[in-house]
């Protein structure tokens, strides 16, 4: 019994560390790739680790109230929490954590929990930029959650289960990844991912040039460091979830890195060639083609 608890704790630690390191390197790679596209040399790939050490070594004498202090912690809790319910590799090849206890619907709630906590925290800072950033973020979330949930509902209808492990299992049994079994769901989810990753043209929340980085604008030093690491973990969470749901998971870590990085490149490269949308343009985008593909995906799952 005692040994089980220690193994669980070890699993939590190792999985979080894996997610953190991978996410940080992906973020570093994204900066490097963006720089190369812009014909620059760019920062080294480990730049984000240096940023993180520096941010954690900074003094933080900002205090607007408890909710502001808790905001970054909420983000971290949400990121690590959702990581615990996603199988990293197939068939228990990696630590299973709590994947048997949670399903997709629970995960949908858990994944927005961090942003909502951060929204409350940003609201307490009293900075007008934060308030506008939060409004934009929640509006955008209302936009991309619709096609994303539709894609997931299509998968649930198709495989008659809400359990991620069982969806993985079903994909292996039929030998077809669900991105081919129900391509419309995959397209809807992928288009929703553009909003989820918040690269341009959907970087309307941060928008450094007009909103002074939005909800984050009152948070420096350790707060910013915590947010950065939670973003790294959360990026990994989202990517692994996509790989599990649509690409049949991964059998080893190399395959996982190849699949997740390939997926990560799609919103990144789409962002490189696009300027920033306005809020209503972003919402209109999500209610257009992505929602249409979502509807088709559900119809396809029901009638096919």
């Amino acid at each position: 019994m005692m040994g089980d608890i220690w193994m669980t704790l070890l699993g939590v630690l190792v999985t979080t560390l894996l997610a953190f390191v991978t996410g940080m390197f992906y973020m570093g790679a994204s900066r490097k790739i963006t720089a190369r596209v812009q014909n620059r040399v760019g920062p080294p790939i480990y730049q984000n680790f240096l940023d993180l050490i520096k941010l954690q070594a900074k003094d933080t004498a900002i205090h607007h109230g408890w909710m502001q202090l808790l905001g970054p912690a909420f983000l971290m809790v949400s990121a690590v929490g959702s990581l615990m319910f996603i199988p990293v590799l197939n068939k228990g090849l990696f630590f299973e954590n709590f994947t048997a206890d949670g399903d997709i619907i629970f995960l949908l709630y858990l994944m927005v929990f961090g942003s909502l906590g951060m929204a409350l925290g940003a609201g307490q800072t009293g900075n007008p930029n934060s308030a506008i950033g939060v409004t934009r973020g929640l509006t955008q979330m209302v936009g991309f959650e619709i096609p994303w949930v539709m894609a997931i509902v299509a998968l649930i209808l198709q495989y008659h289960t809400t359990n991620i492990a069982e969806i993985l299992e079903a994909q292996h049994r039929s030998g077809v990844w669900s991105m081919f079994a129900n391509p419309y769901a995959f397209i809807a989810a992928l288009l929703a991912a553009f909003g989820m990753f918040r690269y341009s043209p959907f970087d309307i929340v941060g928008a450094p040039a007009e909103l002074a980085s939005g909800p984050v604008s009152e948070n420096g030093g350790k707060f910013l460091g915590t947010m950065m690491s939670s973003h790294a973990v959360f990026a990994f969470v989202k990517l692994v979830l996509y790989v599990d749901l649509f690409m049949g998971g991964a059998d080893n870590l190399v395959e996982l890195v190849i699949k997740t990085f390939g997926l990560y490149l799609i919103p990144l490269t789409y962002g490189m060639v696009n300027p920033r949308y306005r809020t209503e343009q972003a919402v209109r985008y999500f209610y257009g083609w992505p929602t249409l593909f979502g509807i088709i995906a559900i119809l396809y799952a029901v009638f096919y």
Partner: protein
């Protein structure tokens, strides 16, 4: 961590990270602001040294004063500087921050920035080219690595002197007190 030698190692790591990760708040007070986009973008690419822009004073490490400061702007600059979190550095950019430059006999600009804010390093020239700006940043990085960029400490220790100087030129002093 209380051991002196291990503290030294921690300091070396911290200073290395600080050196290679400078978030710059480019306070575009004067004409010098036009050199900053050139420094940051493709041709001179300051990001390869870990220098990147920060949107707010809360996130920034370096306050870049680009050019002349009128007394009206000085008030905002002081307020911005005091909102930044330690460790923080100030770069005086262009001749105007050193001796007033071409505004040396103007009635409403300050002549020497160091009287009002603790400047860690100056970049001279009117205008300094992006090469000179990057040279200045590398000078600041060397100071940070050696642990000698202690402008913020100087400011705290001599706050009365700085405040007296600031109040001498800013007549309508209505400012909140920051407790850092």
């Amino acid at each position: 961590m209380n051991d002196k030698n291990s503290q030294k190692i921690v300091d070396v790591i911290k200073n290395f990270a600080r050196k290679h990760s400078l978030f710059v708040l480019a306070y575009g007070t004067g004409c010098g602001a036009i050199e900053i986009p050139a420094t940051m973008t493709s041709r001179y690419d300051a990001e390869r040294f870990g220098i990147r822009g920060a949107a707010t004073p809360r996130q920034a490490d370096v306050l870049l004063i680009t050019g002349y400061l009128s007394t009206k702007t000085l008030k905002r600059v002081i307020r911005t500087y005091e909102q930044m979190q330690d460790p923080k550095y100030v770069i005086g950019f262009g001749s105007c921050t050193i001796n007033g430059g071409m505004y040396w006999d103007s009635y409403n600009t300050i002549k020497l920035l160091d009287m009002y804010l603790p400047v860690d390093i100056y970049i001279n020239g009117c205008m300094p080219r992006p090469e000179a700006v990057i040279e200045g940043f590398i000078g600041l990085q060397k100071l940070i690595a050696a642990g000698k960029a202690e402008g913020a400490k100087k400011y705290k220790e001599n706050l009365d002197w700085y405040r007296a100087n600031q109040k001498k030129v800013i007549k309508n002093w209505v400012m909140p007190d920051y407790n850092w």
